[in-house]
Symmetry: C2
Subunit: 397 residues, 2 copies
Amino acid sequence: MSGEEEAAAQQQKTEEQKQDTKPEEDKQNEQQPPPAQEAEKPQNEVSYKSLVLSGYGGYDKVKLQVKKGELVPKTGEVLVRVKACGLNFADLMGRQGLYDRLPSPPVTPGMECSGIVEALGEGVTDRKLGDKVIVMNRAGMWQEVVTVLTSHTFLMPEGMTFEEAAAIPVNYITAYMMLFDFGNLRPNQSILIHMAAGGVGIAATQLCQTVKDVTIFGTSSASKHDAIKENGVTHTIDYRTMDYVDEIRKLSPKGVDIVLDPLGGSDTCKAFNLLKPMGKLIAYGAANLLTGQKKNLMALAKTWWNQFSINAMQLLQSNKAVCGYHLGYLDEEMELVGGVLSKILDLYKQGKIKPRVDSVWPFQQVGDAMRQMQERKNIGKVILVPEAEKEEKKEEN
Amino acid sequence: MSGEEEAAAQQQKTEEQKQDTKPEEDKQNEQQPPPAQEAEKPQNEVSYKSLVLSGYGGYDKVKLQVKKGELVPKTGEVLVRVKACGLNFADLMGRQGLYDRLPSPPVTPGMECSGIVEALGEGVTDRKLGDKVIVMNRAGMWQEVVTVLTSHTFLMPEGMTFEEAAAIPVNYITAYMMLFDFGNLRPNQSILIHMAAGGVGIAATQLCQTVKDVTIFGTSSASKHDAIKENGVTHTIDYRTMDYVDEIRKLSPKGVDIVLDPLGGSDTCKAFNLLKPMGKLIAYGAANLLTGQKKNLMALAKTWWNQFSINAMQLLQSNKAVCGYHLGYLDEEMELVGGVLSKILDLYKQGKIKPRVDSVWPFQQVGDAMRQMQERKNIGKVILVPEAEKEEKKEEN
């Protein structure tokens, strides 16, 4: 993640084929053999599939394009053939023009992917051809091949699938830093995890279990309760039919030690009030803004109007912490973030965490993939893959 | 600390001698042998010295009185003969009517003291006569003898003086919970400690050194720099002649990981801006309000006007935490607070912390003691003692 300039440069260094292919035409494209010649002739023009956000709006604004151009890793960079990409809430927000870290359209979204190193830029000694890597970047990862700084790549542990690898960075780093940096989670504490079946929810639930005797209140729709319970949630709450505040107060009258808040608006105020003394509210999203395919001005106004706000004097007397977290704004902090990812990969190797992949979608079905997540149908991570044949929609659920 | 009711009850159960003695008369009183008969005849009327806040205002509003009445520990309580009391910023704020946890005047202030157990209430088995104890309470500790619940008393470690014991609870618990609960202080981090020569400043500086390689920026007036450096501050800053933000940026361009903010007003905003990504601002006071003996409406207005305020969306994009801490509002949490004090006493036994007593003042000089602290002349803790003979003003400095 190296700033807006890099993302813009990446846009410019390829000549895009602007004839956006419709889904039907895409399928035809997919049936052609994938172009496998890039590595042999990196100095020559290659063509590769790329998902491009053409403008802000609904699901159809992200289009599959075939780009042509030279893809040569620069000094310190590697070229990675992408095998799987992660879909995140920030991508959904970005599509609606609600995420200012995504460069302006036309732009290729995508903050994470996994793949195989196919070419090395000058001076690269810490990666070799054939390395399987996890990649993080500010944007641009929803593409068949990408060039990135090696500092943005991390070796995949033995036995990890590409789908798992693409499911890890954003969700697990977010959950880890919230729980163990801001949250300072300790034994015998209690936590409220909203959207416990979402990517961050699944990750946070698993990470909580690396600490002794943590009580986890998790919200999701009732149909997902078995899944989140199996993942480690202590008390499941159906937020659609129950008042989650009442449910928690019944079981824990004093409230909870930590609330992870991906919702925003009035839910942030509820979270603050639910905290025990020395409790920590960690806001990390505004999912309440996402009520439909396109930007909803009523939802924006309502969320803004109900927005949590606090001053120093109120805070002082509360003995509480309010924290804001968004990995997208940490793109200058790769050393910090990379250190966290190393710890997460260690936990994976020890069998303490295991990403749950909800479903895998080929690039040309990116609209369906986004709908799956935006309509809260997923349990775990929604994954995109460049290849058409990998159409194993919704493994579980 | 058992609520306003208890404090009020304690006020009522003694008949106060309302003839406030002037300092000259006090000295005469002091020269009389101290009344030592209470323990033998606890059912009878005893008389004891008490500092009483008669109304909000300047230093002269806290008056030495001799109270008469029965002082009998109730079930679960002990009677403690007080040897030393701590003076805190909350007491100074309370005198001006700026601290809502102090019951209304007339009231005896004082949140901490040390002394000897002289009588046991019914059912008390965890304390015995002659035990040397540290005592914490919402108010009422500036008195020659006090009755408190045993849960508010803590055995003094071997070798600890009464002055040290009275210097520990408020300052060290405050510093400990800020650093290790909200702050989550870890090796190689950096911190800004304002008022590094104050009670909390001295305690926080010592506690930081229980973690490896913490860089401490400490502010105080230049005359105290040797003392705070000796206490462990890495970089001293004279806030009266230098811009502390500039000084810190020179040495650490990215800012610091933690700011402890006892000042309020515009300094809280500066603190927030000084934080690195994932940094934590911990507000724990509003010393900027205290500009003179009496409530200063201009200072109140200025501090209020410049007050730090933040909403969820700003916080989200900042990757920062803002925390409010005030021990006075944790009076329902004796188990939590007591657990912290145990850890602090362990550190004392291991020689890792050592309270620094600035000066010891007899009750009748409470006005001078308050001035010492309010005019920022102290290095370390200002202590009050009931006995007149203990007039060792300003041990060091």
